[in-house]
Every structure is written in C-alpha cells, then in structure tokens.
Symmetry: none
Subunit: 91 residues, 4 copies
C-alpha cells in the first residue's frame, strides 16, 4: 500500500482520535466564545459606569481588592486545614 493510500485510509484508531480531537477543539471554542461574550459584558458595564461619572480606575481597584480578600480568606482556611491535619485532626 502506498503512503498516499495509507493517508487516505487511516487506521480506525487514528480516525477515531481525529474525530475526538475535533469534537474537543470545537467544545473549547464554544466555551471561549461564551467567555469572550462575558468579557465584552464586563467592559460594557465599566463603560456605562464611566458614562455615569464613576471612576473606572477606582472601580477596577475595588473589584481587585475584594477578590484579593476572598483569596486571602480561602488561604487562611487552607492553612487551618493544614494545621488541623498536621495535628491529626479533621473537621
């Protein structure tokens, strides 16, 4: 069998993998699209707020800070878990 023919008539396993890959890629692209839409929404909200006289720079900082606080709280919990675990305790 020639190389060209081989390329035309792939192994079932390879074909399956190809289809599977295609499906996965398309699924990712759909998710990326949804994400892009959300990013656009967020941008729009900021723009509207700016139009109403709010300072977007400060707003972004506030959002960032509140997010950081949440992360910090989670870290503290993780720390507690770690300590309790080290002491042989579970909660």
């Amino acid at each position: 069998m020639s190389a060209t023919a081989a390329a035309q008539k792939e192994q079932p396993a390879t074909r399956f993998a190809k289809d599977q890959l295609k499906a996965i890629i398309e699924r990712i692209e759909r998710l990326e699209e949804e994400k892009a839409a959300l990013v656009a929404d967020i941008r729009e909200v900021y723009a509207e707020a700016k139009g109403q006289g709010f300072d977007t720079k400060i707003m972004r900082q506030v959002v960032r800070l509140r997010k950081l606080d949440r992360a910090d709280r989670q870290e503290q919990e993780a720390m507690l878990d770690l300590y309790l675990g080290a002491l042989g305790m579970r909660h």
Copy 2:
C-alpha cells in the same frame, strides 16, 4: 452641622450614587464569577484531553491559530465590503 453628622446623614445624591456603585460592582463580580467558571471548564476540558493522550500545548496552538484565521477572514470580508461600498456596490 458637624462633619460627623454630615457623614451620618449624607446627601440624597451621594447615597444614590453609593447604592448605584454597589450594584454595579456586584454585577461586575457576578460576571467575573461566570467568567472564572468558564475558565475552569476550559481547563478541565484540556485536562481530560491530556488524560486521553492528547498534547495540550499543541491543542492550544491549534485553537489560537483557528482564532487568528477567523479574525483574518473577518478582516478580509470587511475589506471587501469597504471596496464594494467605495464602488457603490453592496453584496
């Protein structure tokens, strides 16, 4: 009126702005949450694919290239429209 009293009994306009700002910030945070969920979903899809033997690095490149292609195509269409428009034609 003392400064303290002023702080306790704000101007209606200020109060309104404050509530409005709060609403906007919370709306942004909700959108950010949804976005974070999507990012997590995408990461999970990649992780699954990796578990099935696919190379995620290459997959990411594929996704990026296809995105570029779409952008190019859109640009070309926009260019075509521009030219057709300049010639008084529509399609």
Copy 3:
C-alpha cells in the same frame, strides 16, 4: 570590498553595539547565576528544616500566606492613595 571583508571589518557603530550587547548578556547571566544560587539556598534551608522534623509543606504555606498579607497591605495602601487622589488630596 567583498562581503566577507565587510563582515570582518564592521562599521564602528555595529561593532560597538555588538560589544555592548555582549556585555549586557553577560551581566544578565551573572544575575541569573546569583538567582539560581539563592533558589538553591532556599531549597537547602527547607531541606535542613525537614531534617529537624519540621513539615515543609506547612512552612511553605506559612511563607506564602505571609507574603500574601504583605501584598494585601500594599494593595490597601494603593487603594487609599487612589481614593485620596480622587478627592484631590495628597499625603
């Protein structure tokens, strides 16, 4: 003048740039070396501590958390600056 000769006897400006680039690259490499040495030192300190019965996982978490706290404090200050700036005040 042949191309080969030109390559051997470059323009002063080009030569200068080349020497300068060499110096910069070497400087970066020295800094990178120092950095690698520090990373090795840190790893060694953790290893020693482990040998004395300390839990490195917890230690790393502690270091991370303290770093996060510092970052948080800086963010708060930045926030304050931003607010004061927005109110036309400086400190």
Copy 4:
C-alpha cells in the same frame, strides 16, 4: 494544670522548636527578598537594553539558548567522565 496554663507555660522543647521555626521562616523570607531583588535587577537590565534599541525578545532567546548549551556541555562532560571511569581512566 489547666489547658490555658499549659498554653501559657509551654514545654521547653516546644518553645525551642517555635523559636527555631521562626528563625528559619525569617531566613527564608530574607532569601526570597534577595531573589525578588535580583529578578527586579534583571528586568531592569532588559528594560535599559530595550531603551538602547535592543530587541529584548531576541535577547531572552539568546540567554535561554546559551543556558541550554552550558547544560549540554556539562552533560557531555559528565558522559565523558563516565566512559573514562568505566575504562579505569581519569582526566
């Protein structure tokens, strides 16, 4: 002895461990600081080079490649030593 008193008057061994841990953590943090300073230095060198018209992206590639070369050379030397050692020779 109540639990509270126990907490106030710890075992010598525990106290010692605590002080020791504190010392280790602080030592690590100092090393991390130095490391962060070096990272900042490196970034600054790149920034300066960029200001003088050098392409930082290419510079980074150069640094990376040279690092790889050094690693390769070390590997080859190690291999040579191994072979020579197997033949009962030293160099």
